[in-house]
Symmetry: C2
Subunit: 155 residues, 2 copies
Amino acid sequence: MQSENSVEDSLHIRKLEVTDKEKGFIELLRQLTVCDSVSDEKFKERFEEIAKYGDDHCICVIEDVRSGKIVATGSVFIEKKFVRNCGKAGHIEDVVVDSSARGMQLGKRIVEYLADHAHSMGCYKVILDCTEENRPFYEKCGFKKKEIQMVKYFV
Amino acid sequence: MQSENSVEDSLHIRKLEVTDKEKGFIELLRQLTVCDSVSDEKFKERFEEIAKYGDDHCICVIEDVRSGKIVATGSVFIEKKFVRNCGKAGHIEDVVVDSSARGMQLGKRIVEYLADHAHSMGCYKVILDCTEENRPFYEKCGFKKKEIQMVKYFV
């Protein structure tokens, strides 16, 4: 049997790569919200559109190198503002951990990675929207409730 | 005396221009949050950084052409996602109406302009964060409460 340490050692956090589509990235996102099959071409196109933003849009993943599967992901993009003396704000989106990999603090690793990225980019804050149910998790990550989220759907 | 119509006619909605700094744009933002004096150089630099995103980051303003002052503003940026079949989400930020220009539905015009922009860019939704106090205003603009906003400050 593998020790706890060797399991942890096999979970590598890094930025999304274009080959991650073959490693279950889309199937993982499907645990979060609607995400039909995406063609290789469409995936590559979107990957490249996001890559153009450089460090202003960072998607991170955790790969389990034993299985070669992506087991967690999240993204952050950097919004350039005029307020706060031309400040920047980080927006965390689309955080999800594979149902088979919960209880290993992978969500916390993802959120900390993204918050550190926003901090290193000079953001004065990082924000995200979540359900009331997920509030305790984000509080453990150092976040506090501030406002409410409003949404308007077009489809 | 001017009629109601002529007042409305003098309020022009359009995209932010680099010359709007001289028209009170920064002073307007100061009614929203911390925004110290910004040098002309810093303003131009930030303006150009945002302009590079093209239609993916749109800042709109309402100018009162009688006074040559910017009396309302708001921004929206388009986030490119993998979820929702490589969908896009619009994020509305930094909406403010000058204290002297309230009661003329300028906030509604700004929010509708930004939501229309997001829609025309192919977004499946547009979101924003606001206080519970501002919820009725955004409901009038067609938004519904969904989640809660969490924040982590670095400064």
